[in-house]
Symmetry: C2
Subunit: 384 residues, 2 copies
């Protein structure tokens, strides 16, 4: 099955053929599937609402190639490059020789809410993700920093690259998936080599037996099925680091841009979304509960969320819920009183520096459709 | 002399009475003086243009009380609170007992470019700073982290407060100026106790004999004439930390808000400005050189600057100049071709996360007029 279509608007109307179960990857049956192969799917916004931690069957799934089924007993992690001691670690080595750590972290696809950009201009060849390419889990594993220390990573090395076995034919040329992060982030302690998700062994669709989780960075850096960690002087030259996942100037042709053009994406930019009510919903007039998430990347936090029931003419502050960790999204809720008729609900967030999201998708449109962090707008109809 | 008026627009027309020399504080004669007492002045934008480091006589000056003239020989820094050893350090102690460090860092007032917000709605009692409440210097002194280590700052302490002798009657109640920063920032190494500015002993107007410089944070945290460093569990309860320098909700009355309302400002939010040509200037038609700064707070960097010659309809990327340090602004320049007539030049910047500044001052207006980081717009007239 090719790309799904029909939900370029945020109403998430999907073809009935896609409302099947996705037992193969352990996903709930109402996932919005953008592609079956590679498997790319997000939950309906309602399924994310009010859940500080997302159930595994609801967690969005973003893939660039076929999902590999690896034998945990045969799996090895090779740590090499600018290190004093190359390592080859089995799953048992990771479990027995390193401290086990847990943290709650939100992952977010750089293409989250691309659908909003498609209303400005088409973005050929990229999936129309809604605001549900974002989920939160409790991740358990070992700190990458501890593994780097065990290997004696050299001080001069500025980057840590990850490699995986899933070959992507979307890359040019076709190649296994890979990425890298700066050494300062790799050393930070919050970057994990993850063995378990929400207290269960990692499922295949999420990178079993071991994946990287880089809290606060775009999901593309959290490499699944990781097999190689390479300490090096330069960023990865993998297609998905050097060419894809870059913010290109508006007038750039992504098919000819090549490596190194534009801005390499790492930390997530401040964003927010309404999760409930759903876009296009009919609601009773009078007080209605509105809820959603806000997320500030890396070391920033969400400091304030504003909600408008009249398209942005007037605003009230939403109530912020407790954050599960510094790396988790901040859920919020608010009670709005809607007059009978159609209403535009808008959300916008401020981070801990007092910075506000940009207002409109036309301000942030870019040729690959990344980082749509413009104010999220939904339309509902209040009935008597 | 009271507030100056007459330059709420960005044209910087000031009363002739203020175009005197400011020899008392060592400032150039064309500074735009918002208040004589306390002395608050910014350079004309043209004076900042193209200078990676700002001359001392051009560096903006923001004060909350009378500028004290301290005797360097009698000056002492008292380090107290949650420490193993209280310290009392003389200037000689700082010079002889600690490593001397230098870094180039930009300081920026939280009220920088408040003038743009005044076009949305009045902000009584606050000075109408233009985009020149921003300057960059080379700062030399000792790392606060080294002094905290010498004092044995306790692990449980989360904040470091600074106190100074300049009493501000703007505070309620009147009190000496003070602020605080999180311990993680205080420990970072880039926060300096500064003795010299651009290679010269610190002048009185900039905090002689010793000031704090907190790179990447709003200028209000870089306390001048510092005399006290207190390691503590909570943020400072000083008026300028607890009540002022907070981003208040739009409908809040700042006169009655009291401590703890809104968002405490720390790291600077991404912003940018056109420095040359000046707003309102007449320029020749055809190619014209446009230049300015962009600044991303704390650990973010400026990744891209766009410039428009037609009010934001079309954009080109500006050329970014080398940054003097990770804590310095990023200067940029571009050559625009202007048709004869009036043109609106607009600048906007992206940070290293792919986040863009908000477009309009009405999006960011707040009752105290802080963090106007909306796109900077100037108007020029091109003549044949």
């Amino acid at each position: 099955m090719g790309r799904c279509s029909g939900h370029r608007s945020e109403g998430f109307t999907v073809g009935s053929a896609e409302l099947t179960t996705f037992g193969q990857w352990g996903k709930r049956s109402d996932m919005l599937v953008h592609e079956q192969e590679p498997f790319n799917a997000e939950p309906p916004t309602d399924a994310l609402a009010g859940q500080a931690v997302t159930a595994v069957d609801t967690f969005y799934s973003r893939n660039h190639g076929p999902i590999p089924q690896l034998d945990p007993a045969a799996w090895r992690l090779r740590v090499a490059g600018l290190v004093d001691r190359e390592l080859e670690l089995s799953l048992t080595d990771l479990q027995d020789r390193f401290e086990q750590r847990s943290l709650v972290a939100t992952l977010q696809c750089a293409g989250n809410h691309r659908s909003g950009l498609l209303e400005v201009r088409d973005i050929p060849g990229e999936d129309p993700w809604g605001p549900g390419a974002t989920s939160t889990a409790q991740w358990t594993g070992v700190a990458l920093a501890d593994v780097l220390t065990a290997a004696g990573a050299r001080a001069a090395a500025a980057h840590v690259a990850f490699s995986a076995p899933d070959i992507s034919t979307l890359a040019d040329p076709a190649q296994p998936y890979g990425s890298s992060i700066p050494m300062s982030k790799a050393r930070s302690g919050e970057v994990l080599l993850v063995l378990a998700m929400n207290g269960q062994p990692l499922p295949a669709a999420h990178g079993a037996p071991v994946r990287v989780v880089v809290p606060g960075y775009i999901g593309a850096r959290s490499v699944k099925w990781v097999q190689g960690v390479t300490v090096q002087a330069e960023p990865s030259d993998n297609y998905f680091q050097a060419t894809a996942y870059r913010l290109l100037p508006v007038d750039t042709d992504p098919d000819t841009a090549g490596p190194g053009v534009g801005l390499s994406l790492g930390p997530v930019a401040l964003n927010s979304a309404v999760l409930r009510p759903a876009d296009g919903a009919a609601v009773p007039s009078g007080p209605v509960e509105v809820s959603g998430y806000a997320f500030a990347g890396d070391d920033r936090t969400v400091a304030r969320v504003d909600i408008s029931a009249d398209g942005g003419s007037t605003w009230a502050q939403a109530d912020l819920e407790e954050q599960q960790s510094p790396w988790a999204w901040r859920l919020w809720h608010s009670r709005l009183t809607l007059p009978i008729g159609r209403a535009e609900i808008v959300v916008r967030a401020w981070d801990s520096t007092g910075a506000l999201q940009p207002a409109l998708p036309e301000h942030v449109w870019n040729p690959k459709g990344y980082v749509n962090n413009s104010w999220h707008r939904i339309h509902v109809t209040a009935r008597s």
